[in-house]
C-alpha cells in the first residue's frame, strides 16, 4: 500500500544546532515529494519540493532535502536552527495516478530551545 511515514512525532533541538527530519514513503515508483511547515494556528507553507533531477533540493528559509531512492526517503535538513523554526513539519507525497491528491505524513513537531 502507498504510504508516507514521519517516524519522529516530536524533536527538540537547541538554537544553532543542526536539524534533520525524517520522511519515508512506500511506493513502487518515485512519487512527487514535498515538505510543508505549519506554525501554530496557521495554514501550510511549502518549504521545498522534488519532482525529478538533482536529488538535493534547496528550499526557503535555509532548508534543504535530499531524495534517496534506495532508502525511499526524503529527509529535511537545516544546518543551523533558529527559534522561529519552531513549528510542525509535514512531509507530503503525490503518488502517480492520484495527480491531485497529497498524502501527508503524520507530522513532526519541532521545539527549539534557547
Amino acid at each position: 500500500a502507498q504510504s508516507v511515514t514521519q517516524p519522529d512525532i516530536h524533536i527538540t533541538v537547541s538554537e544553532g544546532a543542526s536539524l534533520e527530519l525524517r520522511c519515508n514513503y512506500s511506493y513502487g515508483a518515485t512519487p512527487y515529494l514535498f515538505w510543508y511547515v505549519q506554525s501554530p494556528g496557521q495554514g501550510l507553507q511549502l518549504l521545498l519540493k522534488y519532482f525529478s533531477g538533482d536529488t538535493l533540493v534547496q528550499g526557503i528559509k535555509g532548508f534543504e532535502a535530499e531524495f534517496k531512492r534506495s532508502q525511499s526517503s526524503f529527509n529535511l535538513r537545516k544546518p543551523s536552527v533558529h527559534w522561529s523554526d519552531a513549528a510542525e513539519y509535514f512531509c507530503a507525497v503525490v503518488f502517480s495516478g492520484s495527480a491531485r491528491q497529497l498524502t501527508f505524513g503524520s507530522g513532526t513537531q519541532l521545539t527549539v530551545l534557547p
Binding site: G41, G43, L44, A99, R100, F104, S106
Partner: protein, 114 residues
C-alpha cells in the same frame, strides 16, 4: 500578492446548526481543495473541484458539502455539525496543467462546535 483567503479565521457554531466556511483565491487556479485537520493530526482531504467538476473523497461524510459558484470562490457547508467536526479547515488551490502542481494553502478556519 496573489493568495488564498479564508473567512472567517475563527468560527463558532452550535451542535446541529448549519455553518458555511468561505475560501477565495486570486491565483486564478483551476483546482480548489478542502481539507480537515484535527488537533495534532495531518490534513485530510475532503473533496476538490477541478473547475466546476466536483470530486468527493470516498470517506467524506454526507454532512459535508461544497459549492464553487465561480473560479475565485469555494464554500464548505457543514449541514449539521457534530462535536467531532471541530477542526481546522484548510482551503488550497493548484493550477493543473497535466503535471502535478504544488498546492497553495490558505491560513485556515478554526471551527468550534458547542
Amino acid at each position: 500578492d496573489a493568495m488564498v483567503i479564508q473567512n472567517p479565521r475563527y468560527q463558532v457554531t452550535q451542535f446541529g446548526k448549519p455553518v458555511t466556511l468561505s475560501c477565495s483565491q486570486t491565483l486564478n487556479h483551476n483546482v480548489m481543495y478542502w481539507y480537515q485537520q484535527k488537533s495534532s493530526q495531518a490534513p485530510k482531504l475532503l473533496f476538490h473541484y477541478y473547475d466546476k467538476d466536483f470530486n468527493n473523497e470516498a470517506d467524506t461524510p454526507d454532512n459535508f458539502q461544497s459549492r464553487r459558484p465561480n473560479t475565485s470562490f469555494c464554500f464548505l457547508d457543514i449541514r449539521s455539525p457534530g462535536l467531532g467536526d471541530a477542526a481546522m479547515y484548510l482551503c488550497a488551490t493548484s493550477r493543473d496543467t497535466g503535471t502535478y502542481n504544488e498546492q497553495f494553502f490558505g491560513p485556515g478556519t478554526r471551527l468550534t462546535v458547542l
